[in-house]
C-alpha cells in the first residue's frame, strides 16, 4: 500500500467516524463543528477520485457557506433554541426508540454493501466500456469541466443559476422580520 492509498483510507475513516459522532452526540454545537471535519475529509476523498475542482467547490460552498450559515442560525436565534434541545428526562427512552431506526439503517447498509460486492462494469454488446478512456492523474479537469459546462451542460448550468436566485429571494423573504409576518 503506497502513501497515497494510506492517506485515502485514513480520510475515509475520518469521514465515517466523524459522521457517526455527529449523529450520535447530544451536543448540537459539537455536532455542527464535527460536520465541518466530515466535509473537509470528504473534499480530500474527492481529490483522490481525481475531482479536484469538485473538492475545492465542496470546501468553498459547504465549509464557507453552509456551515457559516448554520452557525449564524444559532447565533442570531434565541438562546432557548439551544437550551430547549436538552431533554435529560427523555434520554433513556430515546435510546430505546432509536433501536428500530438503527436496525433499518444497518439493514440498508448491508443491502448496499452486498450489492457493491459483485460489482462489474460492463458495456452493452458492441460498445466499448470507456470510449474516451479513463481520467488520469495528470489531466487538467478544470479545463475539461469548463468546456463541458459551456457546451453539453449549459442548460442545467443556467437552470442552476435561476434556481439559486429563487432560493436567495425565498430565503430572504422567509427569514425577514416583517411587521405583517404573523
Amino acid at each position: 500500500m503506497n502513501p497515497g492509498e494510506l492517506i485515502c483510507y485514513i480520510l475515509a475513516g475520518v469521514v465515517v467516524i466523524s459522521a457517526l459522532v455527529v449523529v450520535l452526540t447530544a451536543n448540537l454545537v459539537r455536532s455542527v463543528f464535527l460536520f465541518f471535519v466530515t466535509l473537509f475529509a470528504l473534499a480530500g476523498l474527492y481529490v483522490f477520485s481525481l475531482a479536484d475542482f469538485v473538492a475545492v467547490t465542496q470546501v468553498i460552498v459547504y465549509v464557507g457557506g453552509v456551515l457559516v450559515l448554520m452557525l449564524f442560525a444559532f447565533m442570531l436565534s434565541n438562546k432557548e433554541l439551544l437550551n430547549s434541545l436538552r431533554q435529560p428526562a427523555a434520554a433513556k427512552l430515546s435510546m430505546l426508540t432509536n433501536i428500530p431506526a438503527g436496525i433499518v439503517a444497518a439493514g440498508v447498509f448491508t443491502v448496499l454493501a452486498i450489492s457493491t460486492k459483485g460489482l462489474q462494469l460492463a458495456a452493452p454488446s458492441g460498445m466499448s466500456l470507456f470510449p474516451a478512456g479513463m481520467l488520469n492523474a495528470g489531466d487538467n479537469t478544470i479545463h475539461l469541466l469548463g468546456v463541458r459546462l459551456m457546451t453539453n451542460y449549459l442548460l442545467p448550468f443556467e437552470l442552476a443559476s435561476v434556481f439559486l436566485l429563487m432560493a436567495l429571494i425565498g430565503a430572504a423573504h422567509l427569514a425577514r422580520k416583517g411587521k405583517e409576518s404573523t
Binding site: L45, V54, V66, A101, F109, A171
Partner: protein
C-alpha cells in the same frame, strides 16, 4: 488507485448514517445535517464513477450541481426552521404536528 467498490462502501456508510440521523434526531438542524450526509453520499458516487467518463465528465458536473443545490436547500431550510421556532418555540419535528396557525 482506490477501487471503485471502496468509494461505494464509504458512500453507503455515509448514506446510512444520514438515514439514521433523519429517523432519530429530535431537532430539525441535526435532521438537516443528516440530509446533507445523504446528499454527500450521492456526490461521492457521482465523483467516483466520473473517473470512467473522461469525454463528458458528467459525474463531476452533476456533483457540482448537487453541491450548489444542496447549499441553496440549506439556506431555505434554515430560514424555515427559524420561522418554525418563532411559531412553536420548539424545533423538534415530532412536536410540530399541526399546519394551521
Amino acid at each position: 488507485m482506490i477501487p471503485l467498490e471502496h468509494y461505494l462502501l464509504i458512500s453507503a456508510a455515509l448514506f446510512c448514517i444520514g438515514l439514521y440521523a433523519v429517523f432519530t434526531r429530535r431537532n430539525a438542524i441535526q435532521v438537516l445535517i443528516g440530509i446533507e450526509f445523504m446528499i454527500n453520499a450521492a456526490v461521492i458516487n457521482f465523483v467516483a464513477f466520473s473517473k470512467y467518463d473522461k469525454a463528458k465528465l458528467g459525474g463531476q458536473v452533476f456533483a457540482l450541481f448537487a453541491i450548489v443545490l444542496a447549499a441553496a436547500g440549506v439556506a431555505v431550510a434554515l430560514a424555515i426552521i427559524l420561522n418554525v421556532y418563532k411559531y412553536y418555540k420548539t424545533i423538534d419535528p415530532g412536536k410540530i404536528d399541526e399546519l394551521r396557525d
